[in-house]
């Protein structure tokens, strides 16, 4: 059936089975491949996007649940929190393979939108669902902290 969704301020109409996860709508229907597939079961965080400013796992969010809620992805051109994090991700030299970093940044953005000045424990707690096999964790923490100092 026809679904309307709003992604990064743009509205799209997609004819699709309502159970299709948002992840695959973004990646394969809209070709917004910045949002990554990692596990398909909500265990790795690579597919994290914001749904009305709240971090969700796109692989666990059927398109039927998105409705008129605003989806923000790593490819946003206007979200200031995301853009600020991106800047600090580069500054702190976080990325190695880089594949998980879309999800890391979006998850961090979700954290900062509810808690703009998280302490170390709060960062670790919030980010523990996002796997990075390259092991860039300490730099992820540093980048998030640095971004909260200079918003």
């Amino acid at each position: 059936m026809l679904n309307k969704i709003i992604v990064d301020e743009k509205e799209y109409s997609i004819d699709i089975d309502t159970e299709t996860p948002l992840l695959w709508v973004l990646r394969d229907h809209l070709n917004l491949t910045g949002t990554k597939f990692g596990c398909g079961v909500g265990q790795c965080g690579a597919c994290t996007v914001l749904l009305n400013e709240k971090a969700v796992r796109a692989c666990q969010t059927p398109i039927s649940e998105v409705g008129s809620n605003k989806v923000t992805t790593i490819e946003t051109t206007i979200d200031k929190t995301v853009q600020n994090l991106q800047k600090f991700w580069v500054q702190e030299d976080v990325v190695q393979c880089g594949y998980c970093q879309s999800g890391q940044i979006m998850n961090a953005a979700g954290l900062l939108k509810t808690n703009p000045t998280p302490n170390d424990d709060e960062i670790i707690q919030a980010m523990d669902g996002n796997i990075c096999r390259c092991g860039t964790y300490s730099k992820i923490k540093t980048a998030i902290k640095a971004s909260t100092v200079e918003v």
Binding site: T33, K36, Q96, G98, C100, I131, G135
Partner: protein, 711 residues
């Protein structure tokens, strides 16, 4: 794995010559639109509008090779660093690796194998640009310099962009022996440099294209139903229900399973559950982990193939009154790179286009030629970014590559074959399971007088195209490395290997055989130190002869303030040192134990890779390797039950998370010795330093991974 005997004989200077050779341009044809240029050539493209592109034969999978190799070129060719672009190379022998006649990225070999070549090429082009400008201005080369992708006249301050001179370069001779700066005189190489901003920004904005992200016109997607039991075959299948599902275009059998091709990948994946397959599960269905353990233990009762035999081990054991024995057990491990495995191919009768995130372009191309029946020159080969690899994409049996090729073969549209995470965890190509039994004798001073070992595992190399140099006299290279060549001054050895067989494919996993030899050697040496009543660092230094090892140990002792380490309840410190891929790395780990759990709180790492081309990347790789190792120490294992892997995704194949990550302090020693790699050498020491620290904290030795604390 470093195999010096396999080093290609082509000299670096010869390689610089190829600079002006014109490559088959097919796959880069679209790049020629920007008018005439010094292009395509092998390593550096300069377009007339001053786009400077570095062509990378090595794949970028997170290890930072694009940045560091570019630094090597840029040390000599004075480009505007932030504006350079990276372009993956096509398949051509001029990009062959350090290991021999194939392009492959692995074995921590990129800098070892390519650094001098890149510097030489940079120097050659720089010299050519100066010569070209000298001709135009009719002045001496001495009065010209290059900076920020421009050539300047010292006196008049006039300048040309490199691009403005690019046409001149196409007709010039390439300097035969361009002078390359000594490493000690380098201004860029050797200084900490973050990941190149083009790569970094692409990756943080979601714009970087990984294999899974490639989108082309009319493409379809495929998911595959693979057998669960290793070695199982398809007897028959019924696809009628799957074919009724929304979006499903076609179902076809391929050698490894049944592929569903659909308009979108989710549709293909959902339709897999509608397939009805009758499997011939074969004999491995009756095998579980305990059977493998029994088999591995039993085989040790016989004589194995000799890894190392010298001195008189039997006599040493007869003469001693102190013997220490231990059995180390390391499980099968999946690599689990974050990007699931994928392959995109478009087969058009006598030609094809492929997008492959494999670590070896040459092997992938070879497989493509065979499967598709298309000539090499008619295959356009594309390499995207690799979303982690850790050896997995250097697949010897070409599993995901073959899947992608068989799916796309004879179809009229491009098809992206994408594995699920479950495919990735369950399809094998694991780090082999190892059972290592070691026995050492101590002399009256507490020094090790004999070192015996029995190493039992499947072979990575046997039966592969690399068998000739990776499997010799019944010994797998991965059983031997780091064990037979341990650094300690011990006179007697009897080390034996046993090759096991099963339908489970095994593969190199970040730092390969050193993942077993590191914790084995450094575990038993630590036990010896304790038995001798000597401080573990002092004990190691007493038995070492190579000054580089001693320096690194002394450095890590100093950085961690080892002698003043605080004795707290439930806190332990452990040390380990290991050489792999030409690099020596020592680590001190601080662990804290609480009930049945432990946390690695801090790690001090000292590393001697000869010369650190990019110290910042060295630090990042060592830190990443430590986190990679912690996953194996704490969580990861593949367990076989009724012929299949029990684990299937990140809820049961656990890896390290941010809460597991220790603070890491990296110290680099530029010894000026032979250059070593950096992607892997950080892994082996942590695999021993942590168990040794746990002993310090608990008084108990842990010989098996993942570690489960005993109460």
């Amino acid at each position: 794995m470093i195999r010096r005997d396999f080093l290609k004989t082509t000299s670096v200077v010869t390689s610089a010559f190829v600079l002006g050779f014109y490559l088959p341009t097919k796959s880069r044809a679209s790049d020629t639109k920007s008018t005439k240029a010094l292009q395509p050539n092998a390593f550096i493209e300069i377009t007339s509008d001053n786009q400077i592109n570095f062509i990378m034969g090595q794949v970028e999978m997170g290890q930072g090779t694009y940045t560091t190799l570019a630094m090597c070129i840029a040390e000599e060719l004075n480009v505007d660093w932030e504006k350079i672009n990276f372009k993956p190379a096509t398949v051509n022998p001029i990009y062959n690796s350090y290991f021999g006649p194939l392009m492959i990225t692995g074995g921590s070999s990129s800098i070892i194998g390519k650094q001098l070549e890149m510097r030489t090429i940079g120097a050659a082009v720089n010299k050519m640009l100066i010569t070209a400008a000298a001709k135009r201005w009719k002045i001496r080369a001495y009065d010209i310099y290059t900076k920020d992708s421009k050539v300047f006249n010292k006196k008049t301050k006039e300048s040309f962009t490199f691009g403005e001179l690019s046409l001149d370069l196409t007709t010039m001779e390439i300097p035969k022996n361009p002078k390359v700066k000594d490493l000690k005189d380098c201004k860029f190489i050797g200084q900490p440099q973050p990941r190149h901003p083009k790569e970094s920004w692409a990756k943080v904005t979601g714009k970087a294209e990984f294999g899974i992200d490639i989108r082309v016109d009319d493409m379809k997607y495929a998911a595959i139903l693979h057998p669960q039991v290793f070695g199982a075959k398809i007897k028959s299948y019924d696809a009628s229900k799957a074919l009724e599902k929304n979006g499903v275009i076609k179902v076809k059998q391929i050698p490894t399973g049944i592929a569903v091709i659909a308009q979108y990948w989710w549709q293909a994946k959902e339709a897999l559950s509608e397939l009805e397959v009758v499997w011939d599960k074969g004999t491995f269905e009756n095998i579980s982990e305990k059977d493998l353990d029994d088999e591995y233990s039993n085989v040790m009762k016989t004589d194995g193939s000799s890894i190392r035999k010298d001195g008189d081990s039997q006599k040493a054991f007869k003469d001693t009154n102190k013997v220490i024995e231990a059995e180390y057990n390391f499980p099968f491990l999946a690599h689990a790179p974050m990007e699931p495995l994928s392959f995109l191919a478009h087969h058009e009768k006598d030609k094809a286009t492929i997008w492959s995130s494999a670590q070896s372009q040459t092997l992938t191309l070879g497989v493509a030629i065979k499967v598709l029946g298309v000539k090499a020159e008619n295959i356009t080969y594309n390499t995207p970014y690799l979303g982690g690899a850790f050896g997995r994409r250097g697949t010897i049996n070409a599993d995901f590559v073959l899947d992608g090729l068989y799916v796309a073969k004879d179809e009229s549209y491009p098809i992206m074959t994408l594995w699920t995470r479950e495919d990735d965890i369950k399809m094998g190509n694991y780090r082999p399971k190892y059972k290592n039994k070691v026995k050492i004798a101590l002399d009256t001073q507490g020094k090790i007088s004999s070192f015996d070992a029995k190493i039992v595992s499947q072979s990575i190399f046997k039966g592969s195209p690399f068998e000739a140099f990776g499997y010799q006299n019944g010994v797998d290279g991965a059983q031997k490395e780091g064990l037979a060549d341990h650094p300690y001054d011990i006179n007697n050895h009897d080390m034996q290997a046993y090759t096991m067989n099963s339908p489970i494919p095994v593969l190199w996993w970040r730092s390969v055989g050193h993942t077993q030899s590191g914790p084995t050697v450094e575990g038993i040496v630590d036990e010896a130190a304790f038995a001798a009543g000597i401080d573990p660092i002092e004990y190691r230094i007493n038995m070492l002869t190579d000054q580089r090892f001693i320096n690194i140990l002394e450095d890590v002792a100093k950085k961690s303030d080892w002698v003043n380490r605080k004795k707290e309840t439930n806190v332990g410190y452990g040390v380990a040192i290991h050489e792999s891929f030409g690099t020596i790395c020592a680590q001190v780990a601080k662990v804290r134990v609480s009930q049945n759990d432990f946390k690695v709180e801090k790690v001090w790492a000292s590393v001697d890779c000869g010369f650190a081309f990019n110290p910042q990347n060295v630090e990042n790789q060592i830190t990443g390797s430590i986190n990679f190792g912690i996953a194996a120490l704490k969580y990861s294992k593949i367990t076989i039950q009724n012929g299949e892997a029990i684990q299937s995704n990140f809820y049961d194949y656990l890896v390290s998370r941010i809460s597991d990550a220790p603070e890491v302090v990296v110290s680099i020693i530029n010894s000026g010795e032979k250059i070593g790699g950096i992607g892997e050498p950080g892994v082996p020491p942590i695999l021993a330093a942590v168990p040794n620290a746990l002993f310090d904290a608990t008084g108990k030795r842990y010989h098996s991974m993942p570690i489960k604390l005993r109460s």
